[in-house]
């Protein structure tokens, strides 16, 4: 690395702040020119969200919309976006971070700007991301923390008061929360040669306890259900920075499948953002095939599960053979299995038997 890590993040911070200020200037000057202010942005309507097979993720199409203060239906969200930009700039310049929920509450008391609920404020934040083409994490706005990371990875903090301080992620046996500090940190070094992503906290703790990080020489990431964007970004950074392969291990049901897919190909909701997806990541289970091969205890697929499977079957992200095959198997057997199902063969079975076999077979593909 040519520059010290915190200088690099400092530069990003300055670019973000400048782009927010630029937005303010644009609007300010429009008003001064006796023009109703407006902002051009890519349309986020469903018909403008397209799957790009090359990038292997959803992207926004070429259609743009003009959010215009002259329009009676636009002026309120427009005003809210200007307020949110100002709020974001305050965060960035004071080197503070906030959560989506806090942004929603911060607008309380701002007469007429107040959001009617958090979905509305989340939506305005997404607008700002689209308008400035930057993820909200750059503005210091994070979701509630719930995912975690563990393994031999040394990071260097860039957050105020911790600049330059280093930490190894094996230091804390519960794993380290993926919050603003971890997200904005620089990755210094690692001895791991792979990343193991786990959907559920119980299994994450089991793997730490069974020293799976040592056994498989892996960094463990806990997504806590559908993976937050900051966690997806970390997975991608680890994959890009050191070329570490990523293996995703979820429940054997349509919801688990999709958790893996969002890490691999991104979500339609974040079609306006790049650098979140890890196309090389692999879903290693629990497959429908595993249910049969390992005779796992199962539950029946509900009508809701079956419907979701049918949706996935036609989703452009699921065209690869392995997905089609596994979806067909789930539909055929009409069963699903959770990660914990392996406990049937003892608590360590998954680490001793299943994962080694699975990793070996996947690596050979």
């Amino acid at each position: 690395m040519s520059e010290t890590p915190h200088k690099e993040s400092e530069k990003q911070r300055e670019i973000t702040e400048a782009s927010l200020k630029q937005l303010g200037n644009l609007i300010y000057e429009q008003i001064q020119n006796r023009e109703f202010p407006w902002v051009m942005m890519q349309s986020r309507s469903t018909d403008n969200i397209i799957y790009d097979p090359e990038l292997r993720q959803y992207i926004l199409g070429s259609r743009t919309i003009r959010r215009h203060a002259r329009n009676i239906r636009h002026i309120r969200p427009f005003t809210q976006m200007v307020w949110t930009a100002w709020f974001a700039r305050e965060l960035v310049s004071m080197r503070k971070t906030s959560t989506l929920r806090e942004v929603y509450y911060s607008a309380r008391g701002q007469q007429d700007i107040e959001f009617s609920g958090q979905p509305e404020s989340d939506n305005i934040i997404t607008d700002l991301e689209v308008a400035l083409n930057r993820p909200r994490e750059d503005f210091g706005i994070f979701p509630e923390e719930r995912s975690a990371i563990f393994g031999d990875l040394t990071i260097e903090y860039t957050v105020p008061g911790y600049e330059g301080r280093r930490m190894n992620l094996t230091d804390h046996p519960d794993g380290v929360m993926v919050g603003p500090a971890v997200t904005s940190s620089e990755f210094v070094e690692t001895s791991a040669d792979k990343i193991l992503v786990i959907e559920k906290g119980a299994m994450f703790n089991r793997l730490i306890e069974e020293k799976a990080h040592d056994k498989f020489n892996a960094i463990l990431v806990h997504t806590a259900g559908q993976s937050p964007r900051s966690t997806r970004k970390i997975i991608r950074r680890l994959n890009q920075q050191w070329g570490l392969p990523v293996y995703i291990f979820t429940d054997g049901d349509p919801w688990g499948i999709h958790i893996a897919m969002v890490i691999i190909s991104g979500s339609a909701n974040a079609a306006h953002l790049r650098d979140l997806a890890t196309p090389e990541a692999k879903w290693i289970g629990v497959w429908g095939t595993d249910i049969i091969d390992y005779k796992l205890p199962t539950e029946n697929l509900t009508e809701h599960d079956a419907k979701r499977l049918r949706e996935l079957k036609t989703d452009p992200r699921y065209t690869d053979e392995i997905w089609q095959r596994e979806i067909d198997i789930f539909m055929k057997i009409g069963k699903k299995a959770e990660l914990e199902a392996f406990s049937r063969y003892g608590l360590t079975y998954i680490v001793d038997e299943y994962l080694p076999a699975k990793l070996e077979s996947v690596e050979n593909i």
């Binding site: 303010g24 609007i27 300010y28 001064q32 309120r76 100002w86």
Partner: protein
């Protein structure tokens, strides 16, 4: 039984059914007498009414002094005792629209005052010469005035008019709000009159004159054969000087010429040379029946009617409902029509706006008149209520249950189709009902335009409010966001959005002209 005696026994027919209604009926009889007296000599009415409580009595009713003065024709001194002291004084052989409900004038009121207080009435009147003052009572059994005192005074100021002062028992407090409604509604249809009322508590109510124009006096016309009844026919026969039935028909009825008279009498089976005086009672019945069905008479002559006219009615409504420029009022006077041989004209008005919602509860308020007399009671039994609530689909006119609306309907006719002897509401004669419906519909068509335009104006105003709300915020936060010192000027932007608004408000004012042309 004398007529006085009859009314003494049946006073509820004339509206004196209880102490509170008695006050209302007395005011109504006296006030309308005064208005007629003023109009007869084309004097702009100036009427002063005062009710004073003398003694409170048990059960809520009290003894009151009621005094009314007008600047009307005044009465020739020799006629005063009979005018006020005898029931059914005078008789009419021609028809014209008149206010008087029963043709009794104030006599019934005096009668009621006398039987409840046993006090005489004082009548002061002058036709411009000396002033005559009578103190008198009515001899009920003999239907005859009893003069207690007669005084003649000098009249230096050339005063002309009549003052009636009497005592009566009544209950003012329970009729107060109705009485005030009555006075207000009277002021609406008499916008050229100046009314003053002082109530028993000493409160002064003024109903000021809004115009000096008076409607033309109705002409007296002969009765139409379709509308004659046996009694009136008999009276005509008793007074006629004509020697033959043909001449009788042509002389005493409207729309009857040589040929019509011949054809009619032939249809009735009565010789045209027959002497009217020698008609047998059954001949009269035959003639009246035939007249009712005979179709070759000309349509009844409406010149005996005196509608308010759109201009006067509008003046009256505007002043008494305190309408402003931005309120809506549409007045419609229909062409004359007839029912059962009686000519009639319907006038209607529809008003809405913020002034209406301040004065009336939300929803529709109906104001009814028959020959310029306000009808206050039994609203839901009358034809106007039926038309408003059954015949007209108000949503067509963008009127909903909470729209503040005042509907005024005036029916004038030589014979108002009252439904009951109480004469408080009109029956649903099909022809009259149809005319009322059409009149209200015509007015409501322009109402619809007004309402949609005011909705648009309200929308525009809301729009402007939104810009006024958010543009300053955009200016404020874009200034902060861009590190500028002063917020940019948003005034030009606000000016740009507000230009459309006065435009719409202008159009609202134009509505009545536009619709007036269309109708």
């Amino acid at each position: 039984m004398s007529p006085s005696d009859f009314f003494y026994r049946n006073r509820e027919i004339a509206g004196f059914s209880n102490p509170s209604r008695a006050i209302y009926a007395a005011v109504r009889e006296l006030l309308e007498n005064s208005l007629d007296a003023c109009e007869a000599q084309k004097a702009l009415p100036e009427i002063f009414l005062r009710i004073t409580e003398v003694t409170a009595s048990e059960a809520g009713s009290s003894i009151y002094i009621m005094r009314i003065s007008d600047n009307g024709t005044g009465l020739p001194p020799e006629e005063i005792p009979n005018c006020f002291g005898k029931v059914f004084y005078g008789s009419k052989y021609t028809l014209k629209q008149a206010r008087g409900t029963f043709g009794l004038g104030g006599t019934i009121t005096i009668l009621y005052g006398q039987i409840t207080t046993h006090k005489p009435v004082t009548i002061t009147s002058s036709t411009g010469g000396e002033i005559h003052e009578y103190e008198m009572m009515i001899d009920i059994q003999n239907n005859r005035p009893m003069i207690l005192r007669h005084r003649v005074m000098e009249n230096k100021k050339k005063w002309r008019g009549t003052v009636v002062e009497l005592q009566m028992e009544g209950d003012y407090s329970r009729i107060k709000s109705r009485l005030l409604d009555y006075l207000k509604e009277t002021a609406i249809v008499n916008p050229y009159a100046d009314l003053t009322f002082v109530d028993p508590a000493g409160r002064l109510y003024r109903y000021e004159r809004g115009t000096e124009k008076m409607p033309p006096l109705p002409k007296a016309v002969k009765p139409h054969p379709h509308g004659i009844d046996v009694e009136n026919f008999r009276r005509l026969v008793s007074v006629t000087k004509e020697k033959s039935m043909k001449a009788f028909m042509m002389e005493h009825f409207q729309g009857v010429g040589q040929k019509t008279a011949d054809n009619f009498l032939k249809a009735a089976g009565i010789s045209r040379r027959a002497k009217p005086k020698s008609l047998k009672p059954e001949d009269i019945v035959t003639l009246v029946r035939t007249a009712r069905q005979f179709s070759d008479f000309k349509r009844p002559d409406p010149s005996c009617l005196s509608p308010m006219g759109e201009e006067l009615l509008e003046t009256g409504i505007r002043k008494e409902l305190n309408l402003t420029e931005s309120d809506f009022l549409q007045v419609v006077t229909r062409k004359p029509s007839t029912y059962l041989g009686f000519p009639f004209i319907v006038e209607a008005a529809v008003a809405t706006g913020s002034s209406i919602s301040k004065q009336y509860k939300s929803g529709t308020t109906i104001i009814r008149y028959a020959n310029r007399i306000p009808l206050l009671f039994d609203e839901s039994s009358g034809v106007v209520w039926k038309v408003v609530n059954k015949n007209i689909n108000w949503s067509t006119y963008k009127v909903y249950s909470d729209t503040p609306l005042v509907i005024v309907v005036h029916v004038c006719s030589t014979k108002i189709p009252y439904k009951t002897v109480g004469k408080e509401y009109m029956a649903d004669q099909p022809e009259v009902e149809k005319e009322i419906t059409n009149a209200i519909r015509t007015a409501a068509r322009s109402l619809r335009i007004y309402i949609s335009r005011s909705h648009r104006a309200a929308r525009e105003r809301r729009r402007l409010n939104i810009f006024e709300k958010f543009l300053p915020k955009i200016a404020e936060f874009s200034t902060k966001l861009s590190d500028n010192e002063d917020p940019p000027d948003i005034a030009p932007l606000l000016a740009a959005v507000s230009t459309t608004i006065p435009d719409v408000e202008e159009k609202i004012k134009e509505v009545s002209t536009i619709v007036g042309d269309a109708a």
